[in-house]
């Protein structure tokens, strides 16, 4: 479904100089839920942005269902739903207008669009406030509309970059439930997160990124469960402190 070959992406950072955010990643992903885990600045978001064609690789390639991101980026985006911590809603549009605007880019029109809006508004429980302006919505309500927007066109690939960051427990649970509900035999869901409970609850596969490279690629259970999983990950990325000590104890 999705293949990355010797993918590299560097950028300039005023503090650190040249940073190799993604440094020669080779990856093949099939349908299922894949969790991307790593420290801040490890390269998770850059990798997801490369897949979503928001960035172009310095070298290497990303191919989704046979379509290369370089040669046909719009074609790749047609098959993607992308949500990140930095994607927001248009404050001066209502939830319905927001969904209609997003749907228009995916070719949804008239009855088909109305049907999909109806479907996602029921699925994500946004029917009560779908006609309110987005700047009047609470953080949780906004994130629900954002999720509905991401899944409006029913894309085969979902990219969710830390979708629960900044949400309270109830809203975060709703997101996790929504991802579980979106799980399908022919759908690939890539979710970057720092919350190990979410990894355990959702992920079939865990990819640990460190300094732009893959440090671990396998089932989460291979690293442990519960606190041991968190400690193992922490140890692999060179963490110290309480969690590091726990990791040593767990190992």
């Amino acid at each position: 479904m999705l293949t990355c070959e010797t993918l590299r992406k560097s950028f300039y950072d005023p503090g650190r100089g040249e940073v190799r955010a993604v440094d020669g990643i080779n990856l093949h992903l099939d349908a299922g839920v894949v969790a991307l885990v790593g420290a801040n600045g490890a390269g998770k978001s850059t990798l997801l942005r490369l897949i979503a064609t928001l960035l172009m690789p310095d070298s290497g390639s990303v191919v989704l269902d046979g379509i290369d991101t370089r040669s046909n980026p719009a074609g790749v985006r047609q098959r993607l739903g992308y949500l990140s911590t930095t994607t927001r809603l248009y404050p001066r549009l209502t939830g319905r207008e927001m969904l209609a605007y997003a749907g228009g880019f995916y070719g949804l029109r008239d009855a088909a669009l109305a049907e999909r809006i109806e479907h996602v508004s029921t699925s994500f429980g946004i029917a009560d406030f779908i006609d309110q302006r987005c700047d009047a919505l609470s953080t949780g309500q906004g994130q629900r509309v954002n999720l509905a927007r991401t899944m409006l066109a029913d894309p085969p690939v979902l990219i969710l970059d830390e979708p629960t960051t900044g949400l309270d427990l109830v809203a975060a649970k709703m997101v996790v439930d929504a991802v579980q509900a979106a799980r399908r035999a022919d759908r690939l869901i890539i979710i970057a997160t720092h919350v190990m409970a979410e990894v355990e609850a959702m992920a079939d596969r865990l990819i640990l990124i460190d300094k732009g490279q893959i440090d671990f690629d396998g089932a989460p259970s291979e690293l442990g469960a519960g606190l041991a999983l968190a400690a193992a990950i922490h140890q692999r990325i060179g963490g110290t402190g309480t969690l590091g000590t726990t990791a040593e104890a767990a190992s």
Binding site: Y12, L54, L55, A74, R77, T87, R88, R92, G107
Partner: protein, 764 residues
């Protein structure tokens, strides 16, 4: 989603969002609509306030009470009974009275006309009645001043030539006299003080002449009005004195009035007024277009990025260039709406004020009539402005996108306003009119065509067509550049890959090549240096005067830029050998071709718009040339006038500028913009088109052979030929008729194209 669908989809949504944004509504609707009513109300208030300030009118005194001069001044002054009661007569009424008076004078006698003349038509002032002791004090002060001398044209001419005499200031005694007089005048609130002296003729007392000593407080806030008021009075006084003398000799006094003049304004008052405001309206329109475009652009790009919606927008399947075009369409619409609302508000405000008659009545009606444009003129305004609006919109979107934040983008507004308003002010220059050269200049061309549309009885189709075509080309280049911005990662994530000015933070850390923005900054530094450093080299002789600014201001910034930025000369200046040895041969061929293009276009231009006016610096240039020839003959002239410009100007224009602009605008955009700036650098509108064409040819040469060296050879060769011909055969006419000029220019350009195109062939 197809292209047009995406554009319209984005247009509908962004338009809706803008309509819901109070800030945009204020700038694009509220401000244009409210501007004139608020201004009118303010003006009415100011007029009401200034009415009560008549007591502050400037005072003029004549020491010789009861003399003919004092009578004349008293007649022209505001009568004492008018004080505080009637106040200032409205300007419009005065205009109407003048108009009526002039109309009558065409039919009636000059005497009748004078009889109906209002008591005072010039600037208003008061006649200062002085107490006898004050009069005596002032007379005593004025007695220290010598009698005015009879004007001597020969002596004046000599004094003008004598620089020392010209620069010599007043003596300490003169300064002291003046200071005493000024103190006394200010003590008695006088703006001017006149004393009449009689200078007896040695032989014939009948030929005694009068000398007027007129002291004016040149620092008085009404000093201009005082000058204007006194001029006709003193003329009348002189005429009356001559008439008196003629009468004494039994000659008719009409001898001094050999001419009777009646000026009859035949255009309607509203037409005349429209002609007068024709310079202001284009300026207002471009101001509204710019502010109308910039704020929506800010909201649609910088605002969208700051609100976190740009990332999701660009993660959707639409083509990013179509998304940009949709936004451009919204910004254009917003700018056009701003302009139209502004015009409507202006017309409506004038009509309402005119109908109420409370604000100058007739004058306002005239103004409203003057501003009521016909459908043809309105359509012309729209057509002339549209490419300019598109360009401003695209530039605004690009600037908004290059900024890292909304606030940073706002900081770029002032430079943008200055860049647009400076050329736009050409419409305010009295007598400025379009011509074939100015039509091609961005901003200036369309605005002058617009001014001409408002002033001229027939619509200037030719100028509008040329200006619109030139602006259209510029709009196409700017749009084709800006439309690619959304493809740039730096545009979406300015914090990740710093865009725009942020690139300077990476300076000296070895990026591959400078950007267009950086190259433009170097050009701006060079241009400023070139303008200001010229006089610095003046004391060092003719050679330094020519070569110094070229080396220090033009070439040095390029070299310093490469060193500071740690760039490779090959990438930042195209400073490397050409791709093939044959490139040198082709550069040699381009020398005569370039000369042909240059002379052909110059001749064609002269035939179309006339010969250039005589250069005020022509004498100085000739002197420099003669000095250089006297020092080193033709070889030194070629070094100074051909070799130095060939190396220095090419280093800047085809080196730094073209390399940077190609990176930002692509090959075509880089060549065109660098050629435009190269032609602008020379500061001569009459040499602009030939230099633009040569700039394009040499730019294409650099692109094709990846080296600036052959362009240096062409530039050197071209200048060397022109200098040699002008030295060796000064009588040789280098201008041809329009036919031969067109053939030379067209043939030269065609040959250049063939030569440069041939380099595209494989294995060449």
């Amino acid at each position: 989603m197809r292209g047009l669908d995406t554009i319209l989809h984005v247009f509908r949504k962004d338009g809706l969002e803008l309509l819901r944004d109070r800030r945009t509504l204020f700038v694009n609707v509220g401000l244009p609509v409210l501007m004139y009513p608020v201004l009118a109300l303010f003006a009415i208030q100011v007029m009401q306030l200034t009415k009560t300030k008549d007591a502050d009118l400037p005072r003029i005194a004549v020491l010789d009470e009861g003399s003919m001069l004092s009578d004349l001044v008293r007649q022209a002054a505001v009568p004492p009974e008018e004080d505080e009661e009637t106040g200032a007569a409205p300007v419009g009424d005065e205009a109407t009275a003048e108009e009526a008076s002039a109309e009558d004078s065409a039919e009636d006698s000059a005497e009748d006309s004078e009889a109906t003349k209002p008591a005072q038509q010039g600037p208003r002032f008061r006649y200062a009645e002085l107490e006898p002791d004050v009069r005596a004090q002032l007379a005593s002060i004025l007695s220290a001043f010598p009698d005015p001398k009879r004007p001597d044209p020969e002596a004046e001419t000599k004094a003008k030539k004598d620089k020392d005499a010209k620069n010599k200031g007043p003596s300490p005694e003169q300064l002291e006299r003046r200071a005493t007089a000024l103190e006394a005048m200010r003590e008695h609130e006088l703006a001017a003080l006149i004393a009449v002296r009689t200078i007896a003729h040695e032989a014939d007392s009948e030929l005694s002449e009068q000398a007027l000593l007129v002291l004016i407080d040149d620092a008085h806030r009404f000093q201009v009005q005082v000058h204007q008021a006194l001029r006709p009075i003193l003329n009348d006084y002189e005429t009356e004195l001559i008439a008196q003398r003629l009468t004494q000799y039994q000659l008719p006094s009409d001898l001094v009035r050999p001419l009777r003049t009646a000026e009859v304004p035949v255009a309607t008052a509203s037409e005349a007024l429209r002609s007068k405001v024709a310079g202001v309206i284009p300026l207002l329109l471009v101001l509204m277009a710019l502010s109308g475009a910039f704020y929506p652009a800010l909201d649609l790009i910088a605002g969208e990025r700051e609100r976190g919606t740009l990332e999701s927008l660009l993660a959707w399947p639409g083509n990013r260039r179509d998304i940009f075009l949709g936004k451009l369409l919204v910004v254009n619409a917003a700018a056009v709406i701003s302009v139209l609302l502004n015009l409507a508000s202006l017309g409506l405000t004038m009509l309402i004020l005119g109908s109420q008659g409370g604000f100058g009545g007739e004058a306002v009606n005239n103004l409203a009539g003057g501003l009521s444009l016909g459908a043809g003129v309105l359509a012309m305004c729209f057509v002339a402005l549209l490419p300019l609006v598109v360009t401003l919109s695209a530039v605004s979107l690009a600037i908004a996108g290059l900024a890292a934040s909304f606030k940073e983008a706002q900081n770029y507004l002032s430079p943008l306003f200055i860049a647009v308003m400076v050329p736009a002010f050409v419409t305010m220059i009295p007598g400025s009119a379009p011509n074939a050269v100015l039509d091609l200049v961005p901003v200036v061309g369309p605005l002058l065509a617009l001014k001409e549309s408002l002033q001229s009885p027939t619509l200037p189709w030719g100028h509008v067509g040329l200006a619109v075509a030139a602006s259209g080309v510029l709009a196409a280049v700017v749009v084709s550049w800006s439309v690619r911005l959304l493809d740039s990662e730096g545009f979406l994530y300015p914090g990740l890959v710093r865009a725009g000015w942020g690139r300077f933070r990476k300076w000296g850390q070895g990026p591959s090549a400078p950007s267009g923005l950086e190259a433009l900054a170097v050009f701006a530094v060079a241009l400023a240096g070139f303008l200001y450093l010229g006089p610095v080299f003046q004391p060092f002789g003719a050679i330094a005067q020519v070569v110094g600014p070229l080396v220090v201001a033009i070439a040095l910034p390029s070299v310093v830029h490469v060193i500071l930025g740690a760039y490779k000369p090959a990438t930042a200046l195209s400073w490397r050998p050409p791709a093939a040895h044959a490139d040198w041969a082709r550069a040699v061929l381009l020398v005569p071709i370039g000369v042909g293009i240059s002379l052909g276009l110059m001749s064609l231009q002269t035939a179309l718009v006339g010969a250039p006016p005589a250069n005020s610096n022509a004498g100085q240039v000739e002197e420099i040339m003669n000095t250089i020839l006297a020092t080193g003959g033709l070889p030194l002239a070629i070094v100074c006038m051909a070799l130095a410009p060939g190396i220095c100007e090419e280093l800047l224009c085809r080196g730094t500028l073209l390399a940077g602009l190609r990176r930002s605008l692509g090959d075509l955009g880089g060549v065109l913009v660098s050629a435009f700036l190269f032609a602008s650098l020379h500061g001569s509108p009459y040499r602009f088109v030939p230099q633009l064409a040569l700039g394009v040819v040499m730019g294409a040469l650099v692109v094709r052979c990846r080296s600036v060296w052959p362009a240096m050879l062409v530039h050197f060769g071209h200048n060397a030929v022109v200098v040699s011909v002008s030295v060796l055969a000064p009588e040789q006419q280098l201008e041809f008729g329009p036919g031969l000029g067109a053939a030379l220019a067209g043939g030269g350009l065609a040959c250049s194209w063939l030569l440069l195109r041939s380099w595209n062939r494989p294995n060449q």
